[in-house]
């Protein structure tokens, strides 16, 4: 906690990136820079970046527009889908507003069906994401990536060269490496940075559109944090929590704060707010760059894959690397795929890793905040 106050303006700037970038978005558009709106970690950013477009995440995080969405969509649908759709429908999200094209993937059932309606408000292109990770799937996914390139070329009346793609791959890899350096800080015991701060920086970074500048900015933050840490006197170890499951979006405050208020620290995010979307790099030297991109993205361990071995692989690796004491699996209400996987994750965490596990099902409302606090407190007491 004390760290946050000390951090320089640059840090705040990251946390506030989303807010500020409303203006930035407008400025970009004034400069004729195309904007592609996306909803998922599977979107191969490099292809859009190669033509100089900026990519914005449209996953919405507030329950504000859910009532509006529920006029069209069933109530018992994941809040992330409802909220995102609601923002699109009500035009309340400037990023959605400024997006020239929306790209979705056939991930979970709720999302892909929602895209069918989204087309009523905006041009939408849906990539056919396989739901297995076989070699056949790779062939399909690679062809979908090439198709995306063609769709972009046609939509924006431009051409995307392989050279540009390779350049974009390099820049994106450098960004990933920088973000990894940041979120790896909690490998130190105790962690030099709170989970809430990591979350905010990672989230904020997705709204930093000058991708080339990110590594330098992140490294400045890292340096500052390290200096603070050196000077810190109290270095008692706290229980170390890893968060996995659905993207946190609208429940980040509720969950992360509840953990950290109980005297534990979130040292790692396995989900799409952290390692799942950042950890793996694209092989820059691959002869076939499309295949390298396809492979990198298809490897993502999301529960919409069946089976989903990569989630366990990454989870196991992170539990070891971050000396994790316990795992919290966050399930957004009505997310069937992650909910079904809780059993598999629990078995893996309890039996193979021998540490406690808890799953929490929640939504974007604040109604269950008290209950979540109690559960977290009891969970931390257990450690």
């Amino acid at each position: 906690m004390e760290i946050k106050k000390e951090l320089p303006a640059i840090f705040e700037e990251f946390a506030q990136a989303r807010r500020n970038s409303f203006i930035t978005a407008k400025e970009l558009k004034d400069k004729d820079i195309p904007m592609v709106g996306v909803f998922c970690t599977y979107f191969p950013n490099e292809i859009a970046n190669a033509m100089g477009a900026v990519v914005v995440g449209l996953c919405s995080t507030s329950d504000e527009t859910i009532p509006e969405a529920e006029k069209d969509l069933p109530r018992n649908l994941c809040p992330l889908i409802k909220s995102s759709y609601g923002f699109a429908k009500t035009d309340k999200c400037p990023f959605f507003y400024f997006s020239d094209l929306i790209v979705g993937e056939t991930t979970c059932d709720g999302k892909k069906k929602m895209y069918e309606y989204l087309g009523e408000f905006k041009p939408v292109h849906v990539m056919e994401l396989p739901n297995t990770q076989s070699e056949n799937a790779l062939v399909l996914w690679k062809s979908e990536i090439i198709k995306l390139k063609e769709v972009l070329e046609k939509h924006f009346e431009t051409t995307i060269t392989e050279e540009q793609i390779r350049e974009a791959v390099h820049i994106k890899n450098e960004e990933r490496k920088a973000l990894k350096r940041l979120y790896a800080l909690p490998k130190l015991v105790p962690s030099p940075i709170s989970g809430m701060d990591i979350y905010n920086i990672l989230y904020g970074s997705t709204f930093k559109f000058d991708k080339k500048a990110i590594p330098q900015e992140i490294d400045k933050i890292i340096e500052k944090i390290k200096a603070e840490y050196e000077a810190r006197e109290d270095k008692t170890r706290k229980p170390r929590i890893l968060i996995t499951g659905c993207p946190l979006g609208g429940v980040s405050e509720k969950i992360i704060r509840a953990v950290e208020a109980q005297g534990a620290e979130v040292v790692c995010f396995e989900n799409c707010n952290g390692a799942k979307s950042v950890e793996e790099l694209v092989d820059e030297d691959a002869a076939d760059i499309y295949e390298a991109i396809a492979r990198r993205y298809l490897n993502i361990g999301c529960s919409c894959m069946s089976p989903n071995p990569h989630r366990l692989r990454l989870l196991g690796q992170l539990i070891d690397e971050y000396q994790v004491d316990a795992v919290v699996d966050v399930i957004l209400q009505a997310c069937h795929t992650y909910n079904v996987e809780t059993l598999m994750i629990k078995r893996f965490v309890n039996q193979e890793k021998g540490i406690p596990y808890m799953s929490i099902e929640t939504d974007y409302s604040t109604a269950d905040a008290g209950q979540i606090n109690t559960r977290m407190a009891a969970f931390v007491e257990m450690l």
Binding site: P356, Y357, G370, Q371, T374, R375, A377, E381, M382
Partner: protein, 254 residues
């Protein structure tokens, strides 16, 4: 030295004084709309010079400034159950508003737990509502269902179960048969919920329903594990809090 445990629940606030070996005094007062005030009142009634450590637990655990420590009801409940019945391997608690299952290890520490706080079905509230429709006092439940043949209640939701019962009554089904059906439904549901944790040892049953033998027996049937309870089961949270408090105080004195 004594330790004081205070458990602020949604309907009652409970206190227990522990001397290191025995629970020397307990007290229960209703929780008013001002839970902070109820805690303060109980604290003042029970606190003496001999009390060296105070632990607060339950929903209102943050509301007692005099508490030396705040511990969740999960941890306290487990500790209290293990104190009352040392064989306890797991706790099943059916409260007024929620139900919970707690798994203990050999050293009687909490290793896992589940809470159902989203839905009234499977809580004491469910049975309360149903008994009201049957116009029967819950107190007499054991006699009321003796020798009856349970009807199958299929609805999983309090509201739908209510209309199911109304229509059963309209068909002239025996009220005792319906009541036994309700008991089976709640125990079955609770045991499905509980079995998500790896229960394997004696189950300590607490909450308001635990005092009725019919609930213990039915739960035992569905769980296929020995189910025990204790006359002080309702005080398990407060007792656990006082036991934890005593240990803390001893650690400090050391």
């Amino acid at each position: 030295m004594l330790s004081l445990g205070i458990d602020s629940g949604s309907t009652t606030t409970k206190g227990a004084l522990f001397d290191g070996t025995n629970i020397v005094r307990t007290q229960v007062i209703p929780t008013t709309s001002n839970p902070k005030e109820s805690m303060r009142r109980l604290y003042e009634e029970m606190h003496t010079d001999q009390v060296g450590y105070v632990v607060a637990t339950g929903y209102g655990r943050e509301l007692l400034p005099q508490a030396d420590k705040r511990v969740t009801e999960i941890t306290c409940h487990a500790r209290g159950a293990a104190f009352l019945c040392p064989k306890t391997g797991a706790v099943v608690d059916i409260g007024g508003q929620d139900s919970k299952v707690i798994l203990l290890d050999r050293d009687r520490n909490v290793v896992d737990f589940l809470m159902n706080d989203k839905c009234a079905a499977g809580t004491g509230r469910f049975i309360e509502v149903m008994m009201r429709i049957l116009e029967e006092d819950l107190k007499n439940i054991d006699q009321f269902v003796a020798g009856k043949h349970p009807v199958n209640i299929t609805s999983m939701c309090t509201v739908f179960a209510e209309s199911e019962i109304v229509s059963l009554l309209a068909q002239g089904v025996d009220r005792g048969d319906i009541a036994l059906g309700i008991i089976q439904s709640i125990c079955k549901r609770t045991s499905f919920f509980a079995k998500r944790l790896n229960l394997h040892d004696t189950v300590f049953f607490s909450g308001g329903l635990a005092q009725f033998p019919i609930f213990c027996r039915t739960l035992e049937e569905f769980l296929q594990l020995p189910v025990v309870t204790h006359p002080m089961a309702q005080l398990a949270g407060a007792i656990g809090a006082s036991v934890i408090g005593y240990q803390k105080a001893k650690q400090i004195l050391k």
